[in-house]
């Protein structure tokens, strides 16, 4: 349980660099007799005080090499001027020699503001942080990567953002004319090709004018539904060019297109169907991009008195979880019109509606999607009324049209079905609480117990769950009242491990300025990808975040999948833990986090110890720092 607390503006000098090494090595040192006579104060590293020369080496800029002219106006300064127009608060950086020009311009010329450098220990963590940040902040973050190797490291997280339809302003640099054994493999004829299958648009800037143009376009395209990551490739030499006449370069004004609305006639027809319906059902997936979308959906549901099913994996919160109209309406509620909002898979809805003799409407920007090599679109669905357009942007027109069509008689009919829907919701909640009782006092700790203990302690905070719920059986949604649009930040999008821990740091970063209390519940498998390093980023940048490691010490879903295969092949089921279990030795996640400067406790497997440990870690988070609690938990 250690915690480092460096000053916010501390310069990393020789003394701070040696601090940890001196403490760590202290026990191995043979202390000379003369030193023993004058012991160093308790807690101070036993190293010699720096000389004046040491201090100068630490804190003074190097002398300018003789014979090399100062570049007073490098092109990368202009690039920073362009970037500053794009409302990019942060840029995730793991340093690379291909963008040292841009890096230097951001921190010195740009004063490390808009964007501010967020130091990351892995490019995948940087892109995942940008992913989580974008959903919580409602705008993209920049990630800056080295050619080939940095981009390939980041590619997994870029893919996840693509699958989640979330923008990232990604920039990669390389040498158009590589000259060394190092930068040749870090350069490419077509750098964007490495990730083109899962970015919405990419371009390479070979002139400064084109850099500005491409930056504006990447920003605008990424933020236009269906959203997605964009990639800008920047030449290393271009960054280093001297700009003789800065006034000749124009900094464009960024513009973002209004999101596309559905066709007005189709929206009128959809409204008529919904008004006539006896049992309408609203299904959403990645719908509420903003608080406005959340509010409009509440308005629509209450106007129609229709249940709202936000779905499971991959869906955003979209609708208050303890609202009477939340859910499917119950088993007896046979929908005759199903309205899908940004629900890319309508196959099940079509099947359900047709079984009831009903019809389906789908409003979504997925209909505007362009080509991709990734097969993340669903099977073709025979939707009766498909409407291409951003559902959030289309909802106001749909609501207006329903209000125009629905008279007193219709509104009275709508109201009559509310109680049936609310009763079904109450029954679901009661059953969930009944299920949560089981294993309540078990060790390892049950997931519902972990969530309920957490919920009790954060009930008076303005909390936000910044991780997904893929491996917690949606218990957060079931036991916590998601009554604000930012309470839940959604899943990874592409069913890939390694998103939750770093993306939670990004979500927490976005919530920091609002004073919210971010909490992540991450699997041990997820933490082991690039999550541990992201803990250092949270500590270094003072990002408050409670990370609960849902530590079940295995990839449990895979155990059963291998067992299934073994059973089909008649080869026995007793060896299927091989390759699926994270034990022997058990990783100590608290120690790992402590090593990165994060306050951490655990492993805790006794449910009686959970509440006090939560209280201690939450105290740290409320004070403005990250903390981690390793909870040894039941598999599901």
């Amino acid at each position: 349980m250690t915690k480092s607390s460096p000053n916010e503006n501390e310069i990393v000098g020789r003394r701070s660099f040696l601090k940890g090494a001196a403490v760590g090595a202290a026990s191995a040192l043979v202390v000379p007799a003369t030193t023993q006579a004058q012991p160093t104060p308790t807690g101070r590293p036993s190293v010699a005080r720096p000389t004046e020369a040491d201090a100068r080496a630490d804190f003074s800029p190097p002398d300018t090499p003789s014979g090399l002219p100062i570049i007073a106006s490098p092109a990368s300064d202009y690039m920073v001027d362009v970037l500053k127009t794009l409302d990019l608060e942060y840029v995730a950086v793991n340093p690379g020699s291909s963008f040292e020009g841009l890096h230097e311009s951001i921190i010195n010329y740009g004063q490390n503001r808009m964007p501010e450098v967020l130091t990351v220990l892995h490019e995948e963590a940087g892109a995942a942080i940008a992913h989580g940040y974008a959903k919580a902040a409602g705008k993209p973050m920049m990630t800056l990567m080295h050619g080939t190797v940095g981009l390939l490291h980041a590619s997994m997280a870029i893919f996840q953002a693509w699958a989640d339809r979330v923008p990232i302003f990604a920039v990669v640099a390389h040498n158009r004319n590589p000259t060394s054994v190092v930068n040749r493999p870090h350069s490419a004829q077509d750098m964007g090709a490495l990730v083109r299958d899962f970015v919405k648009w990419d371009d390479e800037a070979t002139t400064l004018e084109r850099f500005a143009d491409a930056a504006m376009r990447a920003h605008a395209i990424g933020r236009t539904p269906p959203m997605g990551p964009t990639l800008l490739v920047v030449d290393a030499e271009l960054q280093e060019m001297a700009v003789p006449d800065r006034s000749a370069l124009h900094v464009p004004k960024p513009t973002v297109a209004a999101p596309p609305q559905g066709n007005a006639n189709a929206v009128r027809e959809a409204a008529a169907w919904l008004v006539d319906a006896e049992r309408p059902l609203i299904r959403t997936h990645k719908f509420a991009r903003t608080e406005n979308g959340w509010n409009r959906l509440i308005e629509l549901a209450e106007l129609l008195q229709a249940p709202v099913d936000v779905g499971g994996y991959g869906s955003w919160q979209d609708f208050p979880s303890w609202h009477p109209l939340y859910g499917t309406g119950g088993r007896d509620y046979m929908p005759d019109v199903i309205l899908g909002l940004e629900q890319n898979d309508m196959v099940g809805s079509v099947r359900t509606a047709r079984a009831n003799g009903g019809r389906t409407i789908s409003i979504g920007s997925e209909y505007l999607f362009q080509g991709t090599n990734i097969h993340d679109f669903a099977d073709y669905a025979e939707v009766d009324l498909p409407i291409a357009g951003d559902a959030e942007a289309t909802l106001p027109a749909l609501i207006d049209e329903i209000r125009r069509l629905a008279g007193r008689e219709q509104l009275s009919r709508f109201q009559a079905r509310r109680e049936q829907i609310a009763a079904a919701h109450r029954a679901v909640r009661e059953q969930e609480l009944a299920d949560a009782r089981y294993g309540w006092n078990a060790s390892p700790i049950s997931v519902p117990r972990m969530i309920a203990e957490l919920g009790r302690q954060i009930q008076d905070d303005d909390w936000a769950i910044v991780s997904g719920h893929q491996f917690t059986g949606t218990w957060q949604r079931r036991l916590l009242n998601h009554d604000k649009h930012y309470r839940y930040n959604g899943d990874c999008g592409g069913f890939g491990i390694g998103y939750d821990t770093p993306a939670s740091v990004g979500g927490a970063l976005a919530h920091k300025q609002h004073g919210r209390l971010p909490v992540a519940i991450v699997g041990d498998g997820d933490f082991n990808f690039v999550g541990a390093g992201a803990m250092w980023t949270a500590a270094h940048h003072r990002i408050p975040l409670l990370t609960l490691v849902h530590n079940n010490r295995a990839y449990h879903a895979e155990v059963m999948l291998v067992q299934r295969t073994a059973a089909r092949r008649g080869r026995g089921s007793d060896r299927c833990h091989i390759g699926n279990v994270i034990a022997d030795p058990n990783p100590d996640y608290a120690k790992i986090a402590q090593g990165y400067g994060v306050y951490a406790e655990g492993p805790i497997g006794d449910p009686a110890e959970l509440a006090p440990a939560l209280a201690r870690t939450l105290e740290r988070v409320r004070a403005g720092e990250p903390a981690l609690l390793d909870v040894v938990s039941q598999p599901r």
Binding site: R426, L433, S446, G570, Q634, P635
Partner: protein
């Protein structure tokens, strides 16, 4: 464009028929009193937790996860039949696991606490229930 093999289209119906058949066998032996367990519960625990890793889906005490195994309503014979022939996509058919092993696993499950505390006796859940009811009151 390639089409899916016909067998893929038939699988759901085939599974449904199998499921109904096996469920019928299982429920025929199920009831409020599922009968005695003949196996060795201690050995069953070893099989449940260490050998077959049943806990990965059902929890160490068979009380958590998907799906919960307590209270166990199947009689021993029905349990063995189901596990060896499960047609469910969520649960493999462990056809290679012997009836003796499954009888031991069954005995272990039957030895576990079959019930849980009432919501009203768990302050955390009771508070959530009260808040939920308040939020959902019309």
């Amino acid at each position: 464009m390639a089409t899916k093999p016909r067998i893929e289209l038939r699988r759901p119906r085939l599974l449904a028929v199998l499921a109904v058949s096996i469920a019928a066998i299982a429920t025929a032996t199920a009831g409020a009193q599922p009968g005695p367990a003949t196996g060795n519960a201690e050995r069953g625990e070893e099989l449940f937790t260490a050998i077959y890793k049943c806990y990965a889906c059902h929890g160490f005490d068979a009380q958590t996860g998907q799906r919960r195994l307590v209270p166990m309503n199947y009689a021993e014979e029905g349990f063995i039949t189901f596990v060896q022939n499960s047609p469910l996509p969520q649960m493999p058919a462990y056809a290679d696991v012997s009836a003796r092993d499954l009888a031991d696993v069954y005995a272990y499950i039957r030895s576990l606490p079959a019930d849980a505390p009432d919501v009203e006796d768990l302050p955390l859940l009771r508070a959530i229930r009260e808040e939920t009811r308040k939020a959902l009151a019309d």
